[in-house]
Amino acid sequence: MDVDIRQNLQNTLDTLNSIVLGKPREIKLALTAVLGGGHLLIEDLPGMGKTTLAQAMSKVLGLSHQRIQFTSDVLPSDVLGVTVFSQIDGEFSFHQGPIFCNLLLADEINRTTPKSQSALLEAMEEGSVTTEGVTRELPDPFFVIATQNPNHQTGTYPLPESQLDRFLLRVQLGYPDSASERILLESGNRRNLIASCDAVLDGEKVKALQHEVSLLRVSEELLDYLQRLAEFTRQSEALRYGLSPRGVMAVLSAAKAWAYIAGRDYVIPEDIQAIFSSATDHRLRDQSGKTMSTHLSIGEWIVTQVDVIN
């Protein structure tokens, strides 16, 4: 493993930790999503630092970034771009929307209508945008960091399962601990810090990191364990439906990225356990309330039910 690139990774984490206080695990998960080549969904109540984390990441990763604040009147053309008639040239030309960037910050994605949501989510899956019969490739790498409010909040259009499935990981930030909150209170607005910090990585480096992650070794035993987990979600009567193959692949990519961040060149069951809840909670539905009684999320509960060693 390249020492430089390792150092860069550590610096990235350090910088992010200095901006978003007391959330090292969530920051690592966010970076995992990027290295695993997937999109990230940050879900929490307003004011918990979702946007701060997303902005900090876009800055530190050194990628071209855009931000869309989704509201109920955002139209697909506001996201993808629009074809306008230029009076100077005397012809139609395409004006790229904010989606044409490396890192798109989609704020409060569930406040907009399904039509605009799907415009974004289709671009996320395909890596390209098709308007008026012309397909335009999005830049590479391309990530979406979306934030959303919990669905029970007013003025939300919940994302359907099929669209939630497109996010590699879903991260919940939660309240900060008291020490971090004290520092926050003492030092004032974190947004200024973001403006002052430097980019640690860039597009090429991110791509190189993603490549390194994909080369990580995965043993038969690990795949056995992963398949046992998947099998359990499909057999269990507590769950409404099981994990899709895409979901299982997401778990593996995330686990690889997690292992990479931990400095290993192979994946161990602990990696899967660490990201399992973030990778599956938004893909599964509890139907019996079994997980509620244990105060665990669905993913955490599944991990407790499946033997690591066969």
């Binding site: 038969e220 035993e221 066969n310």
Partner: protein, 672 residues
């Protein structure tokens, strides 16, 4: 049916039905086949929606006609055939009202019964295998009915059925070996189709010739020690003493000639026998002949079995006709003397001839008697006459009418064993020498693979015995004088030139002796059939107790039920465990086994691994709880993780094993 069971289930069912019916259709009259195919065809047309189900008048008519036909065919319903026929007909007719899924199950279950009826006609290995295949096919059609519409894989039912049947095989074997044997079920019903086969109890000149054209098996004889020479292989069946000028017959019963039965007082005549050599023991497995006589080498000892008696004429008789394959042990003495002191009244019986007829022969006998000094010389003179004059041994003799002995001896001079034996005995009696005709088999083919002699119907033979003063009854085979190769090498060799061996059977294994490998194959198949008959079909209560008493000493028949139940439950539990293991837990990998060993070590100390505790986390916990072992645990865990998850093959399984053993030693001896 169409609404409830998938369509390829119907296909499977029709195939299974055809397979099950086929052997029976070949045995039964043609019109039963016609009804079966008619029903099958109609059912296929319904399946293709080109015909409708018949209404009740048509169905009622068909049933009625079938019943009438059955009665007309067999006259009454009192034998086995009409009932089997009824089953076949109903099995086919049921197709026409197979509308609901319940009907389908009825048809399939009826199919199992039809398959069972195969055993009434054929218990051979090939027949049993066929029935086994039928049962598999029926099970496949049962499986087919359970298929989900969305998942119709045509071969799946058969695969499932085969695996089900294979699982049933151990249970079948247990039941076969252990289940208490009841009286033989198959021989109870009287069967029309069973005709009397083999040697008959009367010999008209020419009657044995039909037998010589049959290659059917008569019996197999297994010798305990070495085989007797082929010239001793005279299998005596019946002794014919009464001659009416044309036909030789059995003597009428006389009280003082009663049978020697085991467990009864011995008749007087038994003491007049003298054995001059060592006895030889053998076992005969006789095919059903529907007759009572058994075939043994002379001189046979009284049988041990309570089903067999020894007759005055020195041959064994079964008290029941041989309706199914019959096995008995016999002991014979090849060198012997019997009836050395034959009473005059008895001698008279063996000299009786019709008052007149065959004058030429009588004159010829008288002439010989006058010119020869002893009875033996007279017999020798007749044999010489057979040998020197133009007598031919042939399976295509001329038809004889009227004075048959005269015609044969001085006219046609062409005949086979019956002619020679019959006329020889006639000449002897005419010359005043007590004589009789013996019918049975001569020779047989030795099977080196099964180590037995196989005697077929074409080995049927007739010869004579004459009584000589001081020597008792002496066997004289006039055929040997005319055609010695018949005795030494068998019928086929004797008929080589004439080409009349099995001439009515165009293709026969037995004619292809030129091909060594074919003969080898024929021996193999015959030996296998013999083993099957001896150990599977012939597995009777006696054999069962003998076999089981090798495992459990002094076993009683009533213990069998208990053993059966225990073995049965044992096998079911075993199968259940195998099935549970194969579905619920996948096979553990080598690495998992290793880690489980490691975890088991610490579980004993109270540090059991939680199921969701991954290896590294677990090791870390152990290290914090047993700091004194931290180094060793760390050593194991890092090696294990690198090997198991890092796929680093430079760390061998043995090395990991040693590390676990090292930890074990340290845990067991805390002093270190």
């Amino acid at each position: 049916m169409i609404a409830l069971a998938p369509r390829n289930a119907l296909a499977w069912m029709l195939i299974a039905q055809l397979v099950v019916l086929l052997p029976q259709l070949l045995r039964f009259p043609w019109w039963i086949s016609a009804v079966c195919f008619f029903c099958g065809l109609w059912r296929v047309l319904i399946f293709q929606q080109r015909a409708a189900y018949p209404g009740w008048p048509i169905k009622g008519f068909l049933v009625l006609v079938s019943l009438v036909c059955l009665v007309v065919q067999w006259g009454s319903m009192l034998s086995l055939e009409p009932w089997v026929g009824l089953l076949l007909l109903m099995f086919s007719l049921k197709l026409l009202e197979m509308q609901r899924s319940g009907d389908v199950y009825q048809v399939i279950l009826l199919g199992y019964f039809v398959a069972l009826t195969h055993f009434l006609y054929d218990q051979s290995f090939s027949g049993s295998s066929y029935t086994f295949a039928c049962v598999t096919m029926l099970t496949a059609s049962l499986v087919g009915c359970q298929q989900v519409r969305a998942d119709l894989r045509p071969w799946l039912p058969l695969r499932k059925a085969i695996s089900l049947i294979l699982q049933a095989v151990p249970l079948m074997l247990v039941l076969f070996v252990l289940f208490p044997r009841l009286a033989p079920l198959w021989s109870i019903p009287q069967q029309h189709s069973m005709t009397v086969t083999g040697i008959s109890d009367r010999m008209t000149m020419g009657s044995i010739s039909e037998l010589t054209q049959s290659s059917e098996l008569a019996f197999r004889a297994t010798f305990q020690a070495s085989l007797p020479n082929s010239q001793f292989l005279y299998w005596r069946g019946l002794v014919l003493t009464e001659f009416d000028g044309k036909t030789w017959q059995r003597p009428p019963f006389q009280p003082k000639n009663r049978l020697s039965r085991p467990g009864r007082s011995q008749p007087d005549w038994l003491s007049e026998r003298q054995a001059l050599s060592e006895p030889i023991a053998y076992q005969i497995m006789m095919e059903p002949s529907q007759q009572q006589w058994l075939f043994t080498l002379p001189m046979v000892m009284p049988a041990v079995s309570s089903k067999i008696g020894l007759s005055r004429d020195q041959h064994l008789v079964s008290f029941e006709p041989i309706r199914s394959r019959f096995r008995f042990d016999a002991v014979s003495v090849l060198s012997f003397r019997t009836d050395t002191g034959l009473a005059d009244s008895q001698q008279e019986r063996y000299l009786t001839l019709p008052v007149d007829g065959n004058p030429l022969s009588r004159r010829f006998a008288a002439r010989l008697k006058a010119s020869r000094s002893s009875n033996q010389a007279v017999a020798q003179a007749v044999l010489d006459y057979f040998r020197e004059e133009q007598f031919y041994y042939t399976l295509r003799p001329d038809r004889l009418e009227g004075e048959v002995v005269d015609q044969f001896l001085f006219g046609s001079r062409r005949g086979f064993c019956g002619h020679f034996a019959g006329s020889f005995a006639f000449l002897m009696r005419a010359a005043g020498i007590p004589a009789r005709v013996v019918v049975g088999y001569q020779g047989g083919e030795y099977n080196p693979i099964g180590n037995y002699i196989e005697v077929r119907q074409f080995d049927a033979h007739a010869w004579s015995e004459i009584w000589l003063q001081g020597r008792g009854w002496v066997r004289i085979d006039p055929t040997a004088a005319v055609a010695p190769e018949r005795i030494e090498m068998g019928l086929q060799a004797a008929m080589q030139e004439e080409g009349s061996f099995l001439e009515n059977i165009p293709v026969s294994w037995l004619k292809m002796r030129g091909f060594a490998w074919l003969t080898e194959l024929r021996f193999q198949i015959s030996a296998w059939a013999h083993y099957w008959n001896s150990f599977v079909v012939g597995y009777d209560p006696v054999m069962q107790i003998n076999l089981l008493s090798r495992i459990w000493e002094d076993i009683q028949p009533q213990d069998l039920a208990h053993i059966t139940i225990v073995a049965f439950i044992g096998i079911i539990v075993l199968l259940a465990i195998i099935m549970l293991r194969s579905t619920n837990s996948r096979r553990s990998s080598q690495m998992s086994i290793l880690f489980n060993r490691f975890a088991a070590l610490f579980a004993q100390l109270g540090y059991a691994r939680a199921i969701d505790e991954a290896p590294l986390d677990y090791c870390k916990r152990l290290m914090s709880q047993r700091p004194e072992l931290a180094e060793a645990i760390q050593d194991f865990s890092s090696s294990y993780m690198t090997r198991c998850y890092g796929n680093d093959m430079s760390i061998s399984v043995d090395a990991l094993d040693r590390k676990i053993n090292g930890l074990k030693m340290r845990l067991l001896s805390p002093m270190l």
